[in-house]
Amino acid sequence: MSNTTKKWFSLNLGSRKENASSSSCSCGKKEGDCHSADTSPQQKDGFDQVFDVPMDRRTAFKKLTASLLIGAGAVSTSCSLVSGNESKEKAQIDWEEQFKGNYKLMSEEEKKATVERLARSYELRTGKTINLSSQGPEENVLFGYAFNISKCQGYMDCVNACVEENNQDRNSQMQYIRIHEMKDGKGFNFNEADDNYYHEVPAEGHFYMGTQCFHCDNPPCTKVCPVQATWQEEDGLVVIDYDWCVGCRYCMAACPYDGRRFNWSQPEVPEAEINKNQHYLGNRLRKKGVMEKCTFCVQRSRAGKNPACVEACPTGARIFGNLLDPNSTIRWVLENKKVFRLKEDLGTEPKFWYFMD
């Protein structure tokens, strides 16, 4: 794959990269197809994907920045006798999306309606369908995560998988997971650790430790949000309603684990690489100026699968499961290994444990 022309995620330094590029891309197409899609001038970024695609960015901006402008645009289009049915429908969707309520407080019907609107909006623009889910938490499920420090070799496959699964902005190389490279014999010395290395791993005399959102049981980030755009679900996942977030970044300042990310500019995902299996609270396409974070891959975990990072880890350092299920692997780890959590003195009660063999 042409690494030089690719301006987005290219951290693929592990051994798997050769295999991946020789057969096919993550999008499932042949290498050539994928590449041509990358460089095509028709490439759409996240914002265009969410809203009107036929417009170029400038016109889209003019129509969409201020909500009043959107409103005016939507009203005039939907009342207009000249404009076609499709653009009327689009305007109607944009209008309803702009003024919808907080997802957390929506009734089941309203949740279904907004999910359908978003899927329909995507279909109207691209002609392709996405599978957007609003699946809620299941009873007697509480998700937990464990990380085996002795097994992690710093291959970063988890990071790659996470970026692809969750449709993260390729332009800013946003990554939910950070892998800290630490020197042997110094303990967990984050100050001297490197979380942005570009060399062959595992490096001599080093060990690796991954951090991400820990889905605290007592999360400081949700408490500070002025508009309740982020909260903890029944199954323990700390989620964000991207459409409700006002972008004040207070949650980011409150997180002691560097677990949150902000879309400083328009997120860009090449159309061909979009993961179309989406969840409203998870990997659907984001806008600029909103917070996002790891959701333990809500679109996967609520469907009974492991998060993408767990599945991608070549060493088996990552373990995920239901804490309320006595037969789960995570329970076995918690009961049989000596586990610890980071910054326990803060009282945040992370649902993320570290252990060593």
Binding site: T65, R178, P220, V224, C245, C248, R249, Y250, A253, L346
Partner: protein
């Protein structure tokens, strides 16, 4: 009543739109700066906050720094309100209206800075109670929204009532405005404490998570705010016939002095805690004062601020020096700038450095960020000039309701 109001609006428009050549030049200059700020803001709207120097590592910068500082300036009006209305000290009466005008301008700037810092200004209606969802009382930011807007309301309504009465040639009734003034005294302390709690309540940032933060905010605010009021009053004294006595300036000078001294004592206490027995949590302070691992972007700022602070406080402490107006003005300017640096760069930025996992990423504001910031400061100066001009004209008796033009009041 309503006709009086209409007439007041018309008359004050007349007052605002007419003035000396200097006045017009001043307003044109401010408008120009505001237009530059608006242009910068449109760029920010189009490209998102990526045009600022902020990153995932340092997620608050110049905007929030200025916001924090200006909350203090707004709160400082109370230092004049209290003696005038409550202790019936007549010396301050002239200064109060100016002080409250300054508070209104500062609060408008605060709100503008917060809006400028938002990632999604088009969905800010989510914050309005009623149609949005307010995370009250959990989020300190919602407390801050209530506190700031309430204070803005108080500071508009009290001077408006007084000026409205004076406009009609009547005396303002003390039983109407004194309860409001008393409330504003409590409220002023409240807005600054709440703003401090915004930072103080974050266990993730040890640099802010410190019990002295709130009180130190108050001390520095009661130094910087009245220092600005002294400078503004001095300017008004020279540019209009509005009489402000020497006694008034000197009394405000004492307030500034005491506050600046207390602020220094608290600084010493903070430094002692961080450096006598340094822990892991002292790293932000180390970064701020001495630099960390070769990164030392804030050093020139903080040491400038500290030396200015020391010089100003020293000058103010000696009666002979303080009572010399030239030295007083100089010391007040020094103090104002020193506290602006200290409450801005010296407080917000090091809170994020080093990050939760010890990563040191430095922050430098971009040109666009600076442009928006200057624009908002110009907006504040513009609002204040308008308010002060109207208020002074009414107080001087140049602006009066003409009864003969309408039949009944």
């Amino acid at each position: 009543m309503f006709t009086v109001f209409i007439s007041l609006v018309k008359d004050s428009l007349q007052a605002i739109l007419h003035g000396s050549k200097k006045y017009h030049l001043w307003m044109a200059f401010l408008t120009f700066i505001m237009l530059i700020g608006m242009y910068c803001y449109t760029i920010q709207l189009e490209h998102g906050l990526s045009v600022t120097g902020m990153t995932d590592r340092v997620s608050w910068g110049l905007y929030i720094s200025n916001f924090t500082f200006l909350v203090g300036v707004a709160a400082a009006a109370v230092i004049l309100v209290m003696p005038t209305y409550v202790l019936k000290d007549i010396d301050f009466k002239q200064a109060v209206l100016i002080g409250e005008g300054l508070a209104v301008a500062a609060l408008i700037m605060c709100l503008a800075f917060v809006v400028a810092d938002m990632g999604g200004p088009s969905v800010l209606w989510h914050m309005l109670p009623g149609i949005g969802v307010f995370n009250f009382p959990d989020s300190m930011l919602t407390w801050d929204v209530i506190a700031l807007n309430g204070y803005l309301f108080i500071n508009i309504s009290i001077p408006f009532y007084i000026l409205f009465r004076h406009y009609q040639g009547k005396d303002a009734l003390s039983k109407v405005y004194v309860p409001g003034a008393l409330l504003s005294v409590l409220w002023a302390v409240g807005i600054h404490l709440v703003t401090a709690f915004l930072y103080q309540g974050l266990q993730a940032r040890p640099f802010w998570n410190n019990a002295l933060l709130g009180p130190r905010f108050l001390a520095s605010a009661f130094a910087a705010g009245p220092a600005l009021i002294i400078l503004v009053l001095a300017l008004i004294r020279y540019s209009s016939s509005f009489r402000i006595e020497d006694k008034t300036l000197k009394k405000i000078g004492i307030v500034v002095t005491v506050a600046a001294q207390i602020n220094l004592i608290m600084l010493v206490s903070e430094l002692f805690k961080e450096f006598y027995a340094p822990t892991h949590h002292s790293e932000s302070a180390y970064y701020l004062f001495f630099g960390l691992h070769g990164k030392k972007a804030l050093l020139p700022w903080i040491w400038t601020a500290i030396s200015m602070n020391l010089i100003a406080t020293l000058l103010l402490t000696f009666h002979k020096l303080r009572n010399n107006f030239k030295i007083l003005y100089f010391a007040c300017s020094l103090l104002f700038i020193a506290i602006w640096i200290e409450k801005g760069f010296g407080l917000i930025v090091p809170g994020f450095i080093p990050g939760p996992y010890g990563k040191i990423a430095e922050y430098t504001p971009t040109g666009i960020e600076i442009g928006v910031t200057l624009g908002i400061w110009a907006l504040g100066a513009f609002v204040f000039t308008i308010l002060a001009k109207t208020a002074i004209k009414i107080e001087l008796g140049q602006l009066r309701y003409k009864k003969e033009t309408v039949s009944k009041e």
